[in-house]
Amino acid sequence: MTGVNRLDGGLIDRTKPMRFTFDGIGFTGFEGDTLASALLANDVRLMGRSFKYHRPRGPMTSGSEEPNALVALRSGARKEPNTRATTAELFAGLSATSQNRWPSLRWDAMAVNDRLSQFFAAGFYYKTFMWPAAFWEKVYEPIIRRAAGLGTLSHEPDPDSYDKGFLHCDLLVIGTGPSGLMAALTAARAGADVIIADEDFLPGGRLSAETHMIEGQSGAAWAAASVAELQALPNVRVMTRSTVIGAFDHGIYGVVERVSDHLKEPFAGKPRQILWRVYSKRAILAAGATERPIVFENNDRPGIMLASAVRAYVNRWAVTPARQVAIFTNNDDGHRTARDLAAKGVDVTAVIDTRLDAPTSADYQVIAGGVVVQTWGRLGLTQIEVRTPKGESLRIPCGALGVSGGWNPNVHLTCHQGARPVWNDTIAAFVPGNSLPPGLIPTGAADGAFSTYEALSSGQKAAHVALSDLGIPHKVSDLPEAEDAPVNITPFWHVASAKRAWVDQQNDVTAKDVQLAHQENFVSVEHLKRYTTLGMATDQGKTSNTAGLAIMADIAGKSIPEVGTTMFRPPYTPTAIGVLAGRARDEDFRPIRKTPSHVWAEEQGAVFVEVGMWLRAQWFPKPGETHWRQSVDREVLQTRKSVGICDVTTLGKIDVQGTDAAAFLNKVYCNGFAQLPVGRTRYGLMLREDAIAMDDGTAARLAEDHFVVTTTTANAVPVYRHMEFVRQCLFPDMDVQLISTTEAWAQFAVAGPKSRALLQQIIDPPFDISNDAFPFMACAEITVTGGLRARLFRISFSGELAFEIAVPTRYGDALMRRMMDVGAGFDVVAYGTEALSVMRIEKGHAAGNELNGTTTALNLGMGRMVSKKKDAIGSTLSEREGLTEGDALKLVGLKPVDPDHNVPAGAHLMTKGATVSAANDQGYVTSACFSPNLGCHIGLAYLKSGDSRMGEIIRLVSPLTGVDHDVEVVSAHFVDPKGERLRA
């Protein structure tokens, strides 16, 4: 019930037993267990099958660096593959299944790969799957897709929500081991705002796994007391279950907080995880170090672990991985595990130390100068073979082997901004170099200072540096007493005679693969990584990179620092895509902007279209209409016959004021505005500096010093930004002020022969909008419906007699309803963006399709609009030769010769009789639609010298869609070419 491998003590809560299942079998563990510790307690060492060869595997570690014990946690939509059993916090009802095996973990058919291993060496896929060529798509790729990858997704939408968050602090301390806690206490006691974060659920770092004493109490008790003090301080935020995933620019760190992964389900309405962006003034990296193994024959059997992991299971989780344990080490630290095991009554069958001068013990045998050369026990270690310096071969029984090859400081965050770590011979490991992310100080084991006392003292020192930088006064206080053992290590990376020795266990990379890479000349460490896939699994090579490059160094005859490390990149550990997305998913992916008449349009059953972030009514289907063409054709015909209303609020509106307002507009528009009378609007074309047309719109002069400029919907922000740049940077001496008013005014186009009559029903009596009093292009501030302030512009996009009326946005809905109401007597119709587009194409008005970033005023047929009398942005370059060639593109209209043919937008134009080729390309179609007024499809197009080719029949081709028919070049102004309706 309590688990056959349980020991006394530990930091688990035996008053809280928990039932859980693994591969359908029920077990019991305790609060404080991880899935791995609870399984080991129940004598389960086999937890997974390796990636390529499907070898039986068990946990190698007790932390987030775990390569082997990867399980699928939970089922259904919340199933998460590749969950490390070593960090999965146990909860009642936890259910996990093993991965990458069929039909079962104990009997996996794919283990046949292990027998065929010579065909699956590193890079095999570069040398296979090539013949026959036809097999690739139909045979090889499907098989590879099924076989490759680790773990499977649920294929269901993620039901959980994730938050983003933002925190600010003076000091971010990364890690709650002795160094981090000391740093946080020092800074917090001085009054700094401190955030301290740890990926573990129990703060304390290695103190939770060791038997070290600090100031007379256990390290774990000291940690608990320190955390309690920190939690009680108002200027400290302690974050557990929170991984600092990356060191980003400007002191910003990413922290993923696992809010509810240790619970059966998240609380309703609460996020499962939060991605915090922490803005720190200073940061301390107290991330500790990770032990590395030694590489030897069959070093991957379930039960073979890092020695420090065995120690953690024994001390923190009160579990021994087996009743008989051996140790294989090249340094003094491995012996700590043997001592801790012996102290708990576990049988230590041998300590095999590669060093001839290894320390001895009275409690167990030490084989100095020995190496492990073989292991047995396919589904779980049973015994090992040791070769002594004398050449003897010893069989040692053991169900677990703790391996210690030394410790690697967790330098990762110091290298996230492109730096590389440097080699330190004393500890035979890489430590942070001199080029660090600004404001980040590594301390303790992360900086290569491995003793507890060094951790405490370096943490305190780092905090002092940070406090001084922050200008926060502080005193130096005494450090607690703690062990200060030196590091004694003689590097020993691999047993050279081994045939199948595992370097990267998660990606199944062997020492032979490293040799193969060298043989094939992939010697640079970056090539070694990618050719062998060493370090490319979800554990990012945390327990394998160093051995890999040490072996490469050996073969290549280089030193380890000469081989170097690969680039370190965030995230530090695997991170759910969901937490990176936060709330921005599905309909919340981005904000929605609604027009003032949106509610009314919804009531009408309008079909909406996304225009950037806006939702605009595209058409308004009436009962009985089953196809959009019916609605759109109706809206177009009725508008041109009587009157139509369209919400045009989305077009940009920019308020331009100041004594130099007109002079300013003269600079941004290529045509003239200085002489525009008050009460008049003018069409304006804005060019880029290189004379390419940027945007078009209108400017209405409401007063000497007051214009309202309009832009296209898509360019509302870019044009405003451009105008601000011109104002602030190009002409800072001009007296002109700008502000956007797109949102402030609801604006409606009222178009058609009855538009004036309709508007006269709502415009207050003093305002005369007869043709004489309010001619084409007039503008005025007026009032409507008995005193509401409004603005009226007599402009027309449709080509009909038309106005645009604006009221403060809150009244837009009511105005729309009122106009539809009074308009009933005039046969009013609401029209959407489709009808709007059809009408402007019929009229030959340019829009975004024609202003496509490659066209000029000349191409648009507006060459003469570029004023020669004043300098404006784009004027000078508009005269360059390349833009003014004789056969420049000109905007024309197109009509199909056969009225049943269409005019696809994007189609290209060829002279009749010429072969279809880019060399013969005469131009292309920019806009096209079915014209209900002409009864056929029409288009607008750019055609070389188009203005002098009226009436010509040319060939319209769309090779990709097989369209090839004749069209007639006509004027772009299909409807009312003389503009009589406009001026009515």
Partner: protein, 186 residues
């Protein structure tokens, strides 16, 4: 008097009020807004005119200020003035009249939506929404920031009373973001 009925930024006839935990979120629709930019060379007159209107010097960058009427800083020589809509529906016209050409005034009332959050633990809510260091605010701060891809102003009237001002057309998205954070954080 005209007879057109206004609707709220959320498209309803009445503003929304909701309570989540310790916080009340109130949609505010009865405040008139106008932007005031000093014209070139007329900055001293603008400051003087605004001081008369606000009953206090116009606020410095990043600040909210004013006694008779409130205002917040929007940019160099640019402020947003707030006033009760009941008495100041023509706020822009009123301000323009006072300025004798020294200021460029623009009506802003309907360009914005506003949600006030009042109560305890507001900082816990805002740390899920934006990068501004709301927890450090003491009252009188007015910052421009982003909430769920929406540019917003956050005005700290007091640490227990914050106004979030966003573009009117995306009121629905802003409201949704605020409500989600309230449920999530409290």
């Amino acid at each position: 008097m005209h007879d057109l009925r206004a609707i709220t930024p959320l498209g309803r006839s009445e503003p929304v009020v909701e309570v989540h935990g310790t916080v009340t979120m109130t949609e505010v629709t009865d405040v008139a807004l106008a932007s005031v930019a000093a014209r070139r060379g007329r900055e001293p007159e603008t400051l003087a005119a605004l001081e008369r209107v606000l009953g206090d010097a116009p606020p410095a960058p990043g600040c909210l200020g004013g006694k008779t009427l409130t205002a917040f800083w929007m940019g160099p020589d640019l402020w947003m003035i707030e006033a009760p809509n009941d008495t100041h529906e023509d706020l822009a016209a009123q301000l323009a009249a006072l300025s004798s050409g020294a200021m460029s005034v623009t009506e802003q009332t309907d360009a914005w939506c506003r949600f006030d959050l009042t109560g305890e633990r507001l900082a816990d809510v805002f740390e899920r929404l934006c990068a501004a260091n709301i927890r450090a605010f003491q009252g009188g701060e007015a910052v421009r920031t982003t909430i769920h891809h929406l540019g917003c102003y956050i005005l700290c009237r007091t640490p227990a009373h914050m106004s979030v001002i966003g573009a009117r057309s995306s009121a629905g998205s802003l409201h949704h973001a605020l409500r989600t954070a309230l449920v999530s954080a409290l």
